[in-house]
């Protein structure tokens, strides 16, 4: 079962919470702990949902740049949405996790220009990354060094020598010849000489007192004399004597006895070797310390040399065996069986056991992601009080990729950077899903900090439901408790029950003319308490989470007419749908109509000046312009004659002498 064998270096899913998506990690080490468990030291990879919105937009621009540069084929909105789930951010952060929490392998590759992004979507469990996230500094950086250019970094290319010009450096000073293959000796003669050298070495050991103690038998002496150092010396001797065998032979046996070549292995006494072993035990391979404290009479080079030879001895192999037990704790791979326990989020049997996960879920609810109504398994998703559910395949998608297959109202509202912003409203489930660990105290901070905004686009049903189920919704109460969730599904369900009856008694809706703000506010205040009459029917638990989004929208300040701009074709979208259609539906009560607030909205709102607006600006005098700026809530009065200027022809000369012919660019 290679699939369940996890090795160091593998990218794997870890589960640390049943409801949250898996963590993607790379295994760096597998360590056996004292109680027999395996702990994995892993490198953290972060998902888009794990990083702040500002970093997300940074990642967005990086992705755009990449797409342009690598000339990616066009991807659909849905693919773009899903690709965000496939992007990870590498970090240098390590953590330790129990290996039993591994839930499968995945593949993470560094994005490459030749990659086609959409291919990642086709392959299961494939992620890519191009940026590195620093969880401490909260920064995203490209995982790339750069090649520096400048005289500080580049080498100066030397002039080429002229033909015939000689490099006059003395090669003798750069090198010393140790062996020449073009020697007159045959291979056999060289081999013979090597045997002679060994024989001389054996004899020399017999003569040498200390050696004869260490190597009591002739065999041992011969073995010692066959070590590489004797052979190297023999070859050296040949070279130095000009490959004259007779001469070389006599150098092997100079006056005063035969030459004895001993390497560190032989040179060291038994007690020195003991000292070394002791020191190695104490300091490890810190040879400097070993020398200082144990063997100060040895040179460092000789200690290093001895160490590597000592590693070939039986002593070392013994020690290694002892250490092998310790090394056992460092595993190369680990087998983790496929996890089969049911996830506690699974809705066991719908509605049968109150108090269990299934409780409160009603029949006929759809998957939050793909809107299917058919699934073998259902899983509770999102904060428990929201009572959202996912079908089996979307649940797996959520666990693996940390998102929903389709951009939902929630996600579409909070994530897409193309959405217009209103005043720092962040849909609540969004805030919760941003970080599964955020406490409610932090959540408020997050809300304030992120200023991720959304625009609620109400459907007819929602609008109806608000009125039909006022008793369930309790809008005033909900407004006072903005953090209490509202169960939108329950309300919608209830509404659909009431709707047929209600249709016979049409609701009184005052067709409102657009009134000044103050009047609207007054109106709202006056209307609200008047309609708590709708019958109290079923006792569906109220989950305000979703409808709470609606709260306060009626009160959004309308500072300046905005239609002109949206009409100019700016692709604003709200809740994933084009905004324009909603705005044009004139049947809505004016109070509920969405107005964007360009002055208050954070950066993503872009004021696109058209020719017309530019012409309008020109028409304004300097004074008028300044006045308008001071009073953003007042509509601008422009001389009607000038508004009609739509031709691309020469613009009317500005009435103010100080203004230039260049269009004034307003930076909203």
């Amino acid at each position: 079962m290679a699939a369940n064998m996890y090795r160091v270096g593998d990218y794997v899913y870890f589960e640390n919470s049943s409801s949250n998506p898996y963590l993607v990690r790379r295994i760096e080490e597998l360590n056996k702990t004292a109680n027999g468990n395996v702990e994995a030291k892993v490198v953290c990879l972060f998902r888009r949902r794990d990083i702040s919105s500002s970093l997300n937009s940074l990642a967005d621009s990086n992705a755009r740049e990449f797409e342009e540069e690598s000339k990616q084929p066009v991807v659909s909105e849905q693919q773009r949405h899903q690709l965000k789930h496939r992007e990870l951010f590498l970090s240098r952060q390590f953590e330790s996790l129990p290996a039993t929490h591994i839930r499968g392998k995945c593949s993470v590759t560094l994005l490459n220009e030749t990659d086609i992004l959409s291919q990642y979507l086709e392959k299961e469990d494939c992620f890519f990354y191009s940026l590195v996230f620093d969880p401490v500094q909260k920064t995203l950086l490209a995982d790339q060094g750069e090649i520096r250019v400048g005289c500080k970094y580049q080498a100066e290319i030397p002039d080429r020598l002229a033909e015939g010009e000689l490099d006059n450096r003395n090669q003798q000073k750069m090198e010393m010849r140790v062996w020449d293959p073009d020697n007159p000796l045959t291979d056999r003669q060289i081999d013979q000489f090597l045997v002679v050298a060994r024989a001389v070495g054996t004899f020399a050991r017999a003569l040498d007192c200390s050696s004869s103690i260490r190597q009591p038998s002739l065999h041992m002496s011969a073995a010692a004399a066959s070590r590489d150092i004797t052979l190297f010396h023999a070859m050296d001797t040949l070279q130095r004597n000009g490959y004259d065998l007779a001469k070389a032979m006599s150098t092997l046996v100079p006056q005063g006895g035969p030459v004895l070549c001993r390497d560190e292995m032989e040179e060291w006494s038994a007690s020195e070797a003991m000292l070394f072993e002791e020191a190695l035990e104490k300091y490890g391979k810190d040879f400097n310390d070993i020398r200082q404290d144990f063997l100060p009479w040895k040179s460092l080079a000789s200690i290093v040399q001895f160490y590597y030879m000592w590693k070939t001895t039986d002593r070392y192999i013994q020690q290694k065996r002892l250490k092998a037990a310790e090394a056992d704790s460092k595993l190369k791979q680990v087998y983790i069986p496929t996890y089969t326990k049911p996830n506690p989020n699974q809705i066991i049997s719908v509605g049968s056991k109150p108090g269990m996960n299934g409780a409160g879920f009603q029949k006929g609810l759809t998957c939050e992601s793909c809107h299917t109504t058919q699934s073998a398994q259902w899983y509770a998703w999102g904060p428990p009080n929201m009572q959202c559910r996912l079908c089996a395949s979307c649940w797996i998608y959520w666990k693996k990729y940390g998102g929903l297959k389709t951009p939902t109202q929630l996600e579409g509202a909070a994530r897409g950077s193309t959405e217009p912003h209103s005043r720092g409203h962040l849909s609540r489930p969004e805030a919760q899903s941003l970080s599964p660990y955020t406490t409610s105290a932090n959540r408020a901070k997050l809300l304030a900090k992120n200023r991720q905004t959304f625009l609620l686009q109400t459907t007819k049903l929602t609008r109806l439901a608000r009125r039909m189920c006022r008793d369930l919704l309790q809008p005033r109460r909900a407004a006072r408790r903005p953090y209490a969730p509202i169960n939108a599904n329950a309300i919608k369900a209830e509404c659909s029950i009431r709707l047929p009856k209600a249709a016979k008694t049409p609701l009184k809706i005052h067709p409102l003319v657009r009134l000044p703000l103050a009047t609207i506010v007054k109106d709202l205040v006056a209307q609200a308490p008047l309609k708590p009459k709708t019958p109290r029917g079923t006792k569906t638990p109220i989950n305000r989470n979703q409808l709470a989004q609606n709260r306060g929208l009626g009160g959004i300040m309308v500072k300046r007419a905005y239609e002109a701009m949206t009409g100019a074709g700016v692709p604003f979208s709200a809740n994933g749908r084009p905004l324009a259609s909603g705005i044009r539906s004139g049947s809505q009560p004016a109070a509920k109509r969405q107005k964007l607030n360009p002055a208050d909205a954070p950066n993503p709102v872009v004021f696109v000046a058209t020719k017309d607006t530019r012409a309008l600006r020109k028409a304004l005098t300097h004074l008028e312009m300044r006045r308008a700026a001071r009073r953003p809530n007042l509509p601008l009065k422009v001389k009607p004659a000038l508004i009609t200027v739509r031709t691309p022809g020469p613009l009317p000369t500005p009435s103010h002498p100080a203004s230039t012919s260049e269009p004034i660019v307003l930076e909203d």
Binding site: Q171, D228, N288
Partner: protein, 462 residues
């Protein structure tokens, strides 16, 4: 094991027995000991009798400043483990410390590795050998004033600089798993050196080596980075190495090649990312050798000492066109090669994350880029004037025209371009005008040199 590629060529091998005695310190993966084990294995295979062996001398600090900054070399010269606190500021400045620890004999180690490399380059320049091998050092990450990735002094760089004295175009090939960023950076803006690096891309500390790093300025398209993913094996590696190198050879037409044979791309290496066997690795050597150019083989990374010894021994044998048995002969370090005591290693079963499609796409990308190269680019051949002042000879006419004269007087015979007019008055056979005068810029063959005094005489008479 048959290496039939190319003809038998002369090999010079550089080694200093001290090099194995340096130790980077506890827990550091870089072990110069592997170089010594290689040498001992060469001895036991009797390969050492088949090549010229040289012991290099230490390079002077001055030599190293040919690339590195003076400050940096001065610092390397003086830093020791016991005086580190004194240099803490400089250590930071030169990135010496963590990856590149201060160890005893650090500078000597640099001197030795550089010494071998530079001496071998000089040897190639003097055409005293076809292939030079120096496994020591080869610290391809070191920057001009910065240590990096276990590398302090960049010996490869000095080698290339040395080769450039005699070669118009030098090709640097890096088959280490890491990018040869030190080299790439140093020659990023020149068209005289092409750097080709096959490496694992991403996550690695250098972070450079992007496909898009193709060189700058004049050196645009003269840097080739082949980013590879984990688990590449022999077959795939060969399938990209061969076509890319052949194309590079065709387009760049170098006159000398430097091949960095870093071994961390081998299977079972400490970094454990690629899945090459010794055979697959050596195949690259074989291929480069088959181009029959002066070639310098250098070591590099490689942190499993027994495999370092195995592979470099095998590659030395490839350079020597010698077959060696798979059964390892006995030597001092024989026990390192257990439990199988074989020369060749087998690949692991790790998954190859490189798909054919991915490799092919990158290959095509390179071919596109290589097409941008002007065919056989580079500097114009030109005669650099001699700076030595020659002894003035008396009358040229007295000289025997058949006698070969030295280059200095012959250069004097070349008159300045302005001396020649296009007028017809002096028109006589053999006169030079500006159009055929250009030929003089060419380096003269011996024949021409001999003819010249006569030409001069003629002119004077007319």
């Amino acid at each position: 094991m048959v290496h039939t590629q190319g003809t038998r060529r002369k090999v010079c091998y550089y080694y200093d027995q001290d090099v194995g005695n340096y130790n980077y310190g506890q827990g550091h993966p870089m072990k110069p000991h592997g170089i010594r084990m290689t040498h001992n294995l060469l001895l036991s295979y009797s390969l050492d009798q088949k090549m010229e062996i040289y012991r290099p001398h230490k390079t002077s600090a001055e030599e190293m400043t040919k690339y590195h900054s003076n400050d940096y070399i001065k610092f390397l010269c003086s830093i020791r483990p016991d005086n580190m606190p004194k240099y803490s500021k400089q250590m930071q400045r030169f990135s010496v410390g963590e990856d590149c620890p201060v160890f005893d004999g650090l500078f000597e180690f640099c001197q030795l590795s550089t010494g071998g490399a530079v001496a071998s380059a000089v040897k190639l320049n003097k055409q005293q050998t076809d292939i030079a091998v120096s496994w020591a050092g080869n610290l391809h990450h070191a920057k001009k004033s910065e240590a990096s990735g276990f590398c302090y002094g960049n010996d490869i760089l000095l080698v290339i600089l040395e080769l450039l004295k005699c070669h118009q175009r030098v090709l640097y090939i890096d088959i280490d798993i890491q990018i040869g960023d030190g080299i790439e950076e140093a020659f990023y803006t020149t068209d005289q050196v092409m750097t080709v690096s096959f490496h694992k891309y991403g996550e690695y500390f250098q972070g450079t080596g992007d496909l898009r790093d193709i060189g700058a300025g004049k050196g645009r398209y003269y840097a080739v980075n082949y980013p590879l993913r984990d688990g590449i094996d022999d077959e795939y590696y060969d399938a990209i190495f061969k076509p890319v190198m052949s194309k590079v050879m065709e387009m760049f037409q170098p006159s000398a090649v430097v091949l960095q044979c870093g071994l961390d791309s081998l299977s079972g290496n400490w970094l454990d990312c690629f899945n090459l066997t010794i055979k697959g690795h050596a195949k690259c050597v074989e291929l480069v050798k088959s181009f029959n150019l002066p070639m310098l083989m250098l070591g590099g990374g490689g942190y499993t000492t027994c495999n370092v010894a195995r592979c470099w021994t095998y590659e030395t044998a490839v350079a020597l066109d010698t077959e060696i048995p798979n059964e390892l002969p006995y030597n001092n370090y024989f026990k390192y090669f257990g439990p199988d005591f074989k020369l060749l290693i087998s690949p692991s079963n790790m998954t190859n994350q490189n798909t054919n499609e991915y490799l092919e796409k990158i290959k095509q990308w390179f071919f596109e880029n290589l097409r941008m190269l002007p065919h056989a680019p580079g500097t114009q051949m030109q005669v650099i004037p001699e700076d030595a002042i020659p002894k003035e000879s008396g009358d040229e006419d007295e000289e025997d025209p058949d006698k070969r004269i030295s280059i200095c007087p012959s250069d004097k015979h070349i008159a300045c371009e302005e001396e020649f007019s296009d007028s017809d008055e002096e028109g006589e056979g053999g006169r030079k005008n500006s159009s055929n005068f250009k030929k003089v810029k060419r380096i003269k063959t011996q024949d021409e040199k001999e003819k010249e005094p006569e030409e001069k005489k003629e002119r004077r008479r007319s």
